[in-house]
Symmetry: C2
Subunit: 333 residues, 2 copies
């Protein structure tokens, strides 16, 4: 299996990517090969700093351009055809790589994935999912910010995509799916949520547990949270900041009082790097997006996620799920 | 000044309300009188348990009915005309009381306030605001769940109402107003947020600081957060649960390791009872809504909030602000 890794995406590229890739090669099966995409000289120099590199499973594909935050995502394909994102996605699209991972511009990865990998049939809008920590384990939230104005059928498609992701990558046989709303009763919610609730309830292949509220996102007890990208993004950024703020405040209080307490297990629960990358679901391929400020551990975990997605045949399962759904997509209506 | 307090609203009514009211009478100025509305016998029995009660400033207005969670809010006026909520609001509407507070059904208080107190001119939809803790102090978020589908002009009206509330009750001379979105740039957001941004930017009387993100709700540095009631409600319930979960987890870790650490200051920051009630803004009166599971301290703080609102002439200031705005309301268009 070959995974194409954009080596030019993080704030500390390619240092972070090279370290993450070498970590993944050591951690994962001997069937894994990694292609690092980006500036060959810089990547080679970084590799040179490491010892015991599995060179036979690590290669470099040169890409002369780099996408920056100021590049218009939709113009990247045309204006930066030799960027690490475009080159990496094309390797995946042509079958020379089985998956792609990038910590670069989310918009450019999305646009490139859509154009190069194409959408899966039955999906109107691919969605970025994010795994968030809850009191009862990880929860896949989708959408996490890509689609801020959603129609009910888009949210239903997210539910199907999330179900398959949870089955294949979260080892949940019959994933419970909750719809984010302002009350647990079916009649609580805004117009879109009310209409979505009715569609999800009528979808026999989904284990729909009904509406969930903000507090349930903390309690957990279900595997997939469906919401539009506006509220998803607000919640995600809020959660990251709240966890950091609370833990920081506790840490200072402990220090001031010279208390010796080990909170490392707790910190780990809220360490977002543990959760790897955010999968772009609904395209015809495995495309994983990492934070621009990812540490090497997050890149390594993102590669592991891509590896597991390929091994479990995630995309074929999604294709099968979508073919069996009763809801029409925009294409077919 | 007379404040009408629904004594039958909390889960432990009227015990909680009586204790909160007596606390408020002791804490606040000698000009404060409180009317406790509800079952006379039960309230008298509760008052009998307290010593040194300022009887000259505490009276009971009997109301034979009590609104329950299963009552339809819009039918309460008609079906339970002698309920503590309706009786209390009518006392305020007629001028016999200067403000009203209830920890009963939010929907019934809203519906009753709208019908009895009426909307302020220029307000299409009254809004419930909630004060939430941030790293730099309290922040008024509106809407907190009342209006789940909002049009841009509704959000602009919330901004005006929030501005005056922050001036009068948060002692902020020139309150900074942020619009909740998925990015700080004006072009980031869903359709409603984009349109609202443009309206707020053109409103010279508002100190609009632009879009704020989920993480900014933690960082703070502004006084008023404008959002629709769907995302506001999700955020609020999430925040309450997240703070409880994080603090609980920290507490257990400390206990397991037998560490003696005083986190009471921190706990106080996230103790929602500190923040009293949620004001219903946009009606022609002071109407404060408390949680059904409020402790006496929250009722006391809610009464203090009502007291300060009356003293600062909040409603007159709101009327003046709305008269000077440039945006038409639905009534006038």
């Amino acid at each position: 299996m070959r995974i194409a890794v954009d080596a030019m995406g993080t704030d500390l590229a390619p240092t972070t990517e090279v370290e993450g890739a070498i970590g993944a090669l050591r951690q994962l099966g001997p069937d894994l090969e990694i292609l690092l995409i980006g500036d060959r000289d810089q990547i080679e120099a970084e590799i040179g700093r490491h010892e015991d590199v599995p060179h036979d499973r690590l290669s470099i594909v040169h890409a002369s351009e780099r996408v920056s935050a100021s590049d218009s995502p939709s113009a990247v394909l045309r204006k930066k055809p030799d960027s690490s994102i475009v080159v990496g996605l094309k390797l995946h699209g042509s079958g020379e790589a089985d998956a792609f991972l990038s910590a670069g511009s989310t918009g450019a990865v999305m646009a490139g994935s859509l154009f190069i990998l194409k959408r899966l049939e039955g999906v109107d809008r691919p969605t970025v999912g994010t795994t968030i920590p809850t009191a009862s384990g990880p929860l896949l939230m989708l959408d996490a910010g890509t689609n801020v104005d959603c129609k009910p059928q888009h949210l239903v498609q997210f539910a199907h995509l999330g179900k398959i992701y949870a089955q294949d990558l979260m080892k949940s046989e019959n994933p419970r799916i909750g719809l984010l709303s302002v009350g647990s009763e079916p009649e609580k919610g805004d117009e879109t949520t009310l209409a979505t609730h009715a569609l999800l309830r009528d979808e026999p292949s989904l284990n729909f547990i009904g509406n969930v509220e903000g507090r349930d996102v903390i309690t957990g007890g279900f595997e997939v949270l469906v919401c539009d990208g506006f509220v998803g993004n607000v919640l995600l950024k809020f959660y990251e900041a709240a966890a950091g703020f609370l833990m920081g405040t506790v840490g200072r209080a402990l220090k001031e009082q010279q208390a010796r307490v080990d909170l490392s297990d707790l910190m780990k629960t809220f360490d977002w790097a543990e959760y790897g990358g955010a999968p772009l679901l609904g395209v015809n391929g495995v495309s994983i997006i990492c934070h621009g400020h990812s540490p090497p551990a997050a890149i390594q975990n993102g590669i592991r996620e891509a590896y597991n997605a390929v091994r479990s045949d995630l995309i074929a399962h999604m294709r099968r799920e979508l073919a069996a759904t009763t809801q029409p997509s925009e294409e077919t209506t």
